[in-house]
């Protein structure tokens, strides 16, 4: 008797548990679901404001980019997602190749976002920019010592360079951008000479590279501009110290330009609420939202009419790679394989 009761309770429990996902439907009112990699409070404020202005509520699902893409793929036409917002054009290229996105025709988006920061097939649209720069300690390196990424492969930089793992997408995209511009042999040469100059086997994240320079383990590091921003405004006074001591250098100003990447948004292939989703895309690219949106993560707004954060402005203007970022997706796999082959861990 008691046993059956227990058994019954259990089956009830399990069905309730599994029912949890059955129940996640949209509300009756207009609402859209965005799969986003970002976790900023300011984003939520923007979405709230968007809802006020348009009446469309925004449901945010947060996870890492790779996870979001895999989910989208698994979910297929069952997905709840209308929008995908992730960092790195290479990843978006992958999502596009996996048929997870669909093209969007929007005059507003075309107006607000420069062409190279939009997918050539209109499946994704960059919203914020970041540059991959050289960071150095002024006591040991002077600005005149620096010029290009490639120069860091020279013998003079032996044991003085740090950068994070090749498995990280930012490095992959950087190499992909070089493959889009140069011959493969050229890039291979660069990678192998760069690896030869590593002060240590890659470990840690971008900020750890800056800290390694600070510690004297290395003299230069390659990392994304927004990490310098995060450290400068960190609640940890020691990170602030690091940010204040180190300097930012934009490489390749005389040659191909500094590598720039974007965080971008795309409309999912099986989006249920296409029109409202496009509204949000246009909103985020608009002048009202761009400042807040980019500043949350110390990135450059993609909308040329909006000014960047004061810290970023203080580093000055720079010449970016004149490269359509769609290419980052095209050369992504090749870049990953090349890095593995040349021993970049």
């Amino acid at each position: 008797m008691k046993k059956l009761l227990l058994l019954g309770l259990m089956t009830l429990g399990i069905s309730v548990l599994s029912a949890c996902t059955l129940g996640t439907g949209n509300d009756g009112d207009r609402s859209i679901t965005i799969y986003s990699e970002r976790h900023y409070e300011s984003d939520q404020n923007l979405f709230d404001q968007f809802e006020e202005e348009t009446g469309v509520s925004v449901n945010v699902v947060k996870a890492s980019a790779d996870e979001l893409i895999t989910r989208l793929e698994q979910e297929g036409s069952d997905t709840e997602a209308d929008l995908l917002l992730i960092a790195d054009a290479g990843r978006l290229g992958r999502a596009k190749d996996m048929n997870l996105l669909q093209a969007v025709e929007s005059a507003l988006l075309e107006e607000r976002i420069p062409e190279i920061y939009r997918d050539i097939d209109d499946t994704w649209f960059g919203l914020t920019k970041r540059a991959r720069v050289i960071v150095y300690h002024p006591d040991r390196v002077s600005e005149s010592d620096l010029s290009t990424y490639e120069a860091l492969g020279d013998p003079v930089w032996e044991n003085r360079v740090v950068i994070r793992s090749s498995t990280n997408i930012y490095n992959q995209s950087m190499i992909a951008s070089m493959l889009a511009i140069h011959e493969e042999a050229y890039v291979r040469d660069f990678v192998s000479s760069l690896v030869g100059n590593f002060a240590r086997s890659p470990e840690g994240n971008d900020r750890d590279q800056a800290k390694a320079v600070m510690a004297g383990l290395a003299d230069v590091a390659i990392l994304n501009t927004y990490y310098m921003g995060k450290m400068a405004y960190s609640s940890d006074p020691f990170e602030v110290e690091v940010a204040e001591a180190l300097r930012v250098f934009f490489p390749n100003q005389e040659t191909t330009g500094t590598h720039v990447n974007v965080s971008a948004i795309g409309l999912t292939k099986h989006a249920k609420n296409v029109d409202d989703a496009i509204l949000l895309m246009e909103y985020l690219a608009g002048e009202e939202a761009q400042g807040v949106f980019a500043n949350a993560n110390y990135e450059y707004p993609v909308n040329e009419n909006v000014e960047a954060h004061e810290l970023l402005s203080s580093w000055g203007d720079f010449v970016a790679q004149d490269l359509s970022l769609t290419q980052l997706g095209v050369y992504a796999n090749e870049a990953a394989i090349l890095m593995d082959e040349e021993g970049w861990e």
Binding site: L17, S18, E67, I69, Q74, G76, K211, F238, N333
Partner: protein, 537 residues
């Protein structure tokens, strides 16, 4: 004919579990039959050897360190008397409440340039930095947070050994070192090996530590292939290789453990020896070091940064996440215990070779690393959902993925993974009790289920509670499985911590981490002090 007597609730439940485990396993082969992708060929040529090499050394170092921490601690606490012995007796288990990945984030931060250790060193003039984010550092972290498994198994084994063995050896004028070599170590070997195996399996299962420290081992590779390269086929092949690796380890363990010795506790209470002052110093260091670095320092760090960042992290979402974690952990653990009870009962009384082999197979589940299990379980569920679409449509449900990405799927994976842990604990408790009570009940005309409920369960109570706590803590800490299989927008405390760490917000990760650790501490305190209470009676 013979079949009828073999089909009862215990065997039916066990057979169902067996079939499920088997089917999940078979997904492995489904993946292998596909054509080898470019990514796989690439991995095989450039990376596979490194994965194997690194996994091997990681396991080796971790096994060594954890064996030393656990064994020495257990030995001191069992055979000697010294101030705070009782305290150490239960406190040495506390590091189990600290997930390895949290310890990794903490020490990674502390030893980073801006971390407290480096700053202190710079303060006294030492400029060079200690680099913990290496394979060696990772194995140290695993050893510090997982040695309690060794401590517990060795201590329980040493407790069973009577004093008389050692006393007679000493009367025979056998030297101390010979006693160690010829008596103590051999008798403790099965327990030592069993404990180290648990540590090794947990190490191979981990994803958080190795990802953060960039240690290229199998779990890292599987995640990488699946998510970064988007190649499920490669992920499956890597899982296959990893399973072979794990299988070899398990076989080695079974061989090393082959002399299973049963000893009974002789009635007398153990007389502990006192320690000389010199020995006391050594003893406190040997006990204090792992406890300090495995638990105390992490907790201090977490408390400090929680205070610093709680205004940012103490919000409703944290509350939801905590409730989510606790509720699913309780349900999954209870179901796991329930099933383990049934399988253990089949194991107790069956003489059938078929059933014995079947149970052996089921208990291999623990060895399957979380990442691999996640791959196999999700493939299994997706396939099942696709097949069940007609049924769903019958109920008017338009979706394909009903079970996939549900809490049911996540619970299913938890159960498969932790069934063995519960089973082992219950089985050993049953062994302590012996079969006669259950058999007496049968001869009094009570059926199997009634006996289980009225006779076995009350007698197993302590063992059941212990098993519950051990499994519960593991489920709460669990990361790789949960990361991959969780429903959309569903976070556990563990995934929340991982997310903060991935966003490089280590300090903000402190409050959820502290909560996670607290759950473990409370559970550990409850069982160790419940035990103590009983012993006094």
């Amino acid at each position: 004919m013979r079949l009828r007597q073999h089909l009862h609730s215990f065997s039916i439940v066990s057979i169902i579990v067996f079939v499920l485990v088997l089917v999940v396993f078979l997904q492995l082969f489904a993946g292998f039959t596909g054509e080898a992708s470019d990514a796989w060929i690439h991995i095989k040529e450039y990376l596979l050897f490194d994965y194997i090499k690194n996994s091997f050394f990681l396991v080796l170092f971790t096994a060594l360190f954890s064996a030393v921490f656990g064994f020495v601690g257990a030995y001191l606490v069992t055979f000697y008397e010294f101030p705070f012995r009782k305290f150490f007796g239960w406190a040495m288990i506390l590091p189990l409440a600290v997930p390895s990945y949290i310890a990794a984030y903490i020490y990674g931060d502390m030893f980073s340039y801006t971390g407290i250790v480096s700053r202190l060193l710079r303060g006294i003039g030492i400029v060079s930095q200690i680099d913990v984010m290496s394979l060696f550092g990772a194995s140290m972290i695993f050893a510090l947070t997982l040695y309690p498994y060794v401590f517990m198994t060795v201590r329980s084994s040493l407790n069973k050994q009577s004093n008389e063995i050692y006393e007679s050896a000493r009367l025979l004028k056998v030297s101390k070192s010979k006693i160690w070599r010829k008596i103590l170590l051999p008798l403790s070997r099965p327990a030592l090996v069993a404990g180290v195996l648990l540590v090794v399996l947990e190490t191979l299962n981990d994803y958080g530590v190795v990802k953060y420290f960039n240690v290229r081992v199998f779990s890292f590779a599987i995640f990488d292939a699946w998510f970064r390269l988007g190649d499920v086929g490669a992920a499956i092949r890597l899982s296959g290789v990893m399973l072979i690796f794990v299988f070899v380890i398990v076989v080695i363990e079974r061989v090393l453990r082959r002399n299973k010795v049963y000893y009974t506790l002789q009635g007398r209470k153990r007389l502990r020896k006192a320690l000389s002052t010199k020995a006391k110093v050594f003893g406190y260091m040997a006990l204090g070091f792992p406890l300090m670095f495995g638990f105390i320092i992490p907790v201090i760090y977490l408390s400090y940064y929680s205070l610093l960042t709680y205004s940012k992290t103490l919000d409703m979402e944290l509350l939801y996440v905590t409730v989510n974690t606790l509720s699913i952990s309780v349900v999954a653990t209870l179901i796991t215990l329930f099933i383990a009870l049934f399988v253990a009962n089949l194991d107790r009384f069956t003489t059938s070779k078929f059933f014995k082999r079947m149970i052996n197979f089921i208990t291999l589940g623990y060895a399957i690393p979380g990442a691999v299990l996640a791959v196999l379980v999700s493939l299994f569920f997706i396939g099942m959902d696709r097949d069940l679409v007609p049924l769903y449509q019958l109920f008017g449900v338009d979706k394909t993925l009903v079970l996939t990405r549900s809490l049911a799927m996540l619970s299913f994976a938890y159960i498969l993974r932790f069934l063995t842990l519960a089973f082992n604990n219950i089985e050993s408790t049953y062994q302590k009790i012996g079969p006669s009570y259950t058999e007496a009940s049968y001869t009094l005309g009570q059926g199997k289920l009634k006996t289980l409920w009225s006779v076995d369960v009350p007698m197993l109570k302590d063992g059941l509670i212990f098993a519950f706590v051990i499994v519960f803590i593991d489920v709460v800490k669990e990361l790789p499985l949960t990361l991959i299989l969780r429903p959309t927008n569903y976070d556990t405390m563990a995934t929340k911590v991982y997310q903060y760490a991935s966003d490089e917000m280590i300090h903000e990760a402190s409050l959820p981490s502290l909560l996670l650790v607290s759950v473990g501490v409370i559970m550990i305190y409850l069982i160790t002090h419940r035990k103590l209470k009983k012993r006094v009676k």
